[in-house]
């Protein structure tokens, strides 16, 4: 077999067996009937999708969406100015700061979640500092609250929001700002009509990389939120590994896949808008 055929067939074989088929199977699983002994059995049914909308499941699903949305918005509010400032530095400083942003990833994210648990504890650094500063008299309950979960989500996901935003700012043609100024646009106008539209692909792709994964990070809810099913990830993990209701778990995953598709569509739209306004032609993913 020649080289060309070899590498093309290896590529297709690997992706078919470990990406395409698994996704197909997942969709298949979601429409099967659950069975405690054989995981899934015939007949095909949409029961699992109907169950998603029963109050029990839907309240968890909705609440998980809310937490993930809050975490995404906070990430965006921190990462946007961060990426912007970063893009104004010289390239050496930029490289160094980006490196510092990625360095914490080398310690496993579970260990970093544990670090947050220590930090937010009754006698942890945050409570101790606030008592020393006289802001509070008694340690307050930070751990095992939704605040802790959001704190942890933002902590782990912030770099993922910075990177696409940084790439948008980096590609932005700075002369457009000067042109805007010369034409008499004020600070707010330049932001609204030039910077915001040009960085929209970064905003959308950053949110995409943060929002859906945030819903799945069960270990954050387990360690920082107490033993409550706060995130969709906890529910899915339980359905697969404890309750063994695979179709139900698969149904939630399919819904997440659909949400991802929807957000990707949004991303394509945002990119198209930017290309039409000029400046950017390639996607930054």
């Amino acid at each position: 077999m020649n080289f060309r055929r070899l590498i093309i067939s290896v590529t297709l074989a690997w992706l078919t067996v470990f990406v395409f088929l698994p996704h197909l199977l997942l969709v298949g699983t979601s429409v099967m009937t659950p069975n405690p002994d054989h995981l899934v059995v015939w007949p095909v049914t949409l029961d699992s999708f109907e169950k998603v909308f029963t109050p029990l499941y839907f309240s968890v699903f909705w609440h998980s969406l809310e937490l993930a949305a809050i975490a995404t918005v906070i990430c965006l509010m921190l990462a946007y100015p961060f990426a912007w400032i970063l893009s104004t530095f010289n390239s050496r400083t930029q490289a160094l700061l980006l490196f510092l942003l990625i360095l914490p990833f080398w310690t496993n994210s579970l260990i970093r979640t544990y670090a947050i648990k220590i930090l937010l504890g009754k006698k942890g650094l945050v409570n101790a500092t606030m008592i020393n500063l006289g802001i509070i008299d008694e340690p307050i309950q930070l751990l095992y609250t939704e605040f802790a979960v959001i704190f942890g989500l933002v902590y782990l996901l912030l770099p993922f929001m910075v990177l696409p935003l940084y790439s948008s700012f980096d590609k932005m043609d700075k002369s457009l700002l000067e042109a805007g100024r010369d034409l008499g646009a004020g600070t707010v106008q330049r932001f609204r009509h030039i910077i915001l539209p040009l960085t929209m692909p970064g905003i959308v792709s950053g949110s995409l990389i943060v929002f859906l994964p945030a819903m799945g990070m069960f270990y954050i809810a387990d360690l920082l939120g107490g033993a409550k099913n706060l995130l969709l990830g906890n529910v899915v993990k339980n359905l697969f590994l404890v309750a063994r209701d695979w179709p139900m778990g698969a149904a939630f995953s399919v819904i997440m896949m659909l949400m991802m598709a929807l957000m990707l569509l949004l991303y394509v739209q945002a990119n198209r808008l930017v290309s039409r306004k000029g400046g950017l032609h390639d996607s930054n993913l």
């Binding site: 590498i7 490196f99 995953s253 997440m256």
Partner: protein, 276 residues
């Protein structure tokens, strides 16, 4: 707002306000980095702290490192994670480089589907990927343990290697490949003697990125692991879920040092590559 307006370009106000704006920017960056590093710093400090709960400093000690080295289960899990990381990064880099070259050089049916699948892997939330892996391993009868972990880690690292290497291939002169072909080199020989050396910086970055992703992963590993091959996140999870384990602090410090060493070595390799 001063900081923001300064980003918009030179301000009409005097130099003083520009200096203030610059200071404000650094303050903001500093605050973010403080947020990112303070929790890790607390772990590192506590790994040398006599006090088990680390609420205050009770003197320097190595005892948590001793405990870590004597905790056979934890050390096993640590080496397993390193092994999976090294193997997954290496295979993902190998496979990913070939895929990037295939996408760059050849036209074939399903080419769009190929990049589409890589894109799906890159964008899918970990929890969805984890479940797709679990489902396929069950369907194929692959025992959950070493092989399932390795295959899953290789697969989720792949797209990152492909985009890194592909970007590099796109940057260099395609005529070099044609020249090698004209001079009689086979496709395979061209790949190994021209393409690979030229894309080495991207290959190294792809490897490092894969190793990072593999070491950082919790979600996929939780789903495709088995009792026969326990890796770090699973072990650590059971340790820290209920209480405090200072050995984990020592472990985290060890991982950080390892990573800094690895990055420095990689930088040296890359710099050497550039100077040639």
């Amino acid at each position: 707002m001063i900081a923001i307006s300064n980003l918009m370009g030179p301000s009409k106000e005097g130099k003083g306000s520009a200096r203030w704006a610059k200071a404000g920017q650094w303050l903001f960056l500093g605050a973010i980095f403080f947020y990112l590093y303070a929790p890790i710093a607390v772990l590192v400090v506590n790994s040398f702290n006599q006090s088990k709960y680390g609420h205050n400093w009770k003197g320097f000690t190595w005892k948590w490192y001793e405990k870590l080295l004597n905790n056979q289960n934890l050390m096993d899990a640590f080496w397993h994670s390193i092994a999976i990381g090294l193997l997954a990064a290496t295979f993902a880099t190998l496979l990913g480089t070939l895929m990037a070259y295939a996408l760059y050089r050849y036209n074939f049916t399903l080419k769009r589907v190929t990049s589409g699948m890589l894109f799906v892997v890159m964008m899918s939330p970990d929890i969805v990927l984890a479940i797709t892996f679990l489902v396929i391993f069950m369907a194929l009868g692959i025992h959950l343990g070493f092989w399932s972990l390795l295959i899953a880690h290789i697969t989720f690292c792949l797209p990152f290697v492909v985009i890194t290497v592909y970007a590099r291939l796109n940057d260099f002169d395609g005529n070099l490949i044609e020249a090698a072909r004209d001079l009689g080199a086979s496709e395979a020989r061209t790949f190994f003697t021209v393409v690979m050396p030229m894309s080495m910086p991207a290959i190294v970055s792809g490897w490092l990125l894969s190793f990072t992703l593999s070491l950082d992963d919790v979600i996929v590993s939780s789903f495709v692991t088995g009792p026969s091959y326990e890796i770090l996140p699973i072990r650590v999870f059971s340790m820290v879920r209920v209480g405090v384990s200072p050995e984990v602090n020592a472990l985290a410090t060890g991982l950080l040092i390892l990573s800094v060493v690895l990055v420095v070595v990689a930088q040296l390799i890359l710099r050497k590559g550039k100077s040639q």
